[in-house]
Amino acid sequence: MDLTQIIDTFAFYSAAGLALLGALGVAFSRQVLHACLCLLPCLFGVAVCYGLLGAHLLFAVQILVYVGAITVLILFAVMLLQRSLGRGILAGQQHLLGSVVATGAFMLIIAIAVIYTHGTPWKPLNLPLTEPGITSHNVQLIGELLMTTYLLPFEAVSVVLLVAMVGAIILARRERDTEPTSGETPEAREGDSA
């Protein structure tokens, strides 16, 4: 076992441990805010796993989109809710027995499948399995793939993103005209709009 392999192994176990600890924090935190913050190390660990698998673009995208955008979005929403509730939001747990049983059954099935297939000489269908080639410098290839083979899913995702953005704005917008809040007189509202 050469040095690269040792470093790879060490990095994998560190990243996976970090991610799993973060995930446990997400599952068992008392407050929603803490659960959101626990998501950060979890996502970072997953990003390191992408890096170890040679997916450098995904490493960057994971940190930019997940850590930088999605987690911050969730944090914003939690703080908005917390401000209107006036206290920390407790993330209580319930149906614990059912959850444990379902999760355990899932883990049992998947673990049996994974461990029994360990060491299987997988071969892609009808394709030659040659020596491990270069998986670095593949960012350009991904761009070419997105513009050629995967053009249709790419465009579909862009439409979905647009629709989701418009939908989120419409859903979260405060409708002042149709929903007069209590304690707000019509004169005040007119003054507001003027």
Partner: protein, 131 residues
């Protein structure tokens, strides 16, 4: 009615070694991540907690996609698009990440609207459409 006899048990499974890190390690890692996400979704009371669980599950699926494409795809010479299936999993994972962003945005908007209309984000109290 008599059931057909069970097939003989397969031989003992190959227990994965701690190193070198191979496909099985990534699959087991993704399984644990997915299981924790599933537990979060099933056990949380608060709507945002359930969203967090869904994010965990999506990440686990992404790890699986990238790991399979890394370990199982045929390797051609770099730059040849004939053997581009090396990167299929990565492209799938990219698309999944984009959809996860959509899901988070719309889900949080729905939760905010829920709170504004019903005054609660506890999903057990949101039973208006149940009869």
């Amino acid at each position: 009615m008599k059931l057909p006899p069970l097939p003989p048990m397969p031989p003992l499974p190959n227990i994965p070694m701690p190193w070198p890190v191979g496909l099985t390690h990534y699959l087991l890692f993704a399984m644990l991540l997915f299981a924790i996400g599933l537990f979060t979704v099933l056990s949380r009371k608060h709507a945002v907690g359930i969203l967090l669980g869904i994010e965990l599950m999506l990440n686990a699926a992404n790890v699986n996609l990238v790991a399979f494409s890394h370990f199982l795809s045929p390797r051609g010479t770099a730059g040849s698009l004939e053997l581009n299936s090396v990167l299929d999993g990565q492209v799938f994972a990219l698309i999944v990440i984009a959809l996860a962003a959509c899901e988070a945005a719309v889900g949080l908007a729905i939760i905010l609207r829920l709170y504004r209309n019903l005054g609660s984000t506890n999903l057990d109290e949101v039973a208006k459409m149940k009869w």
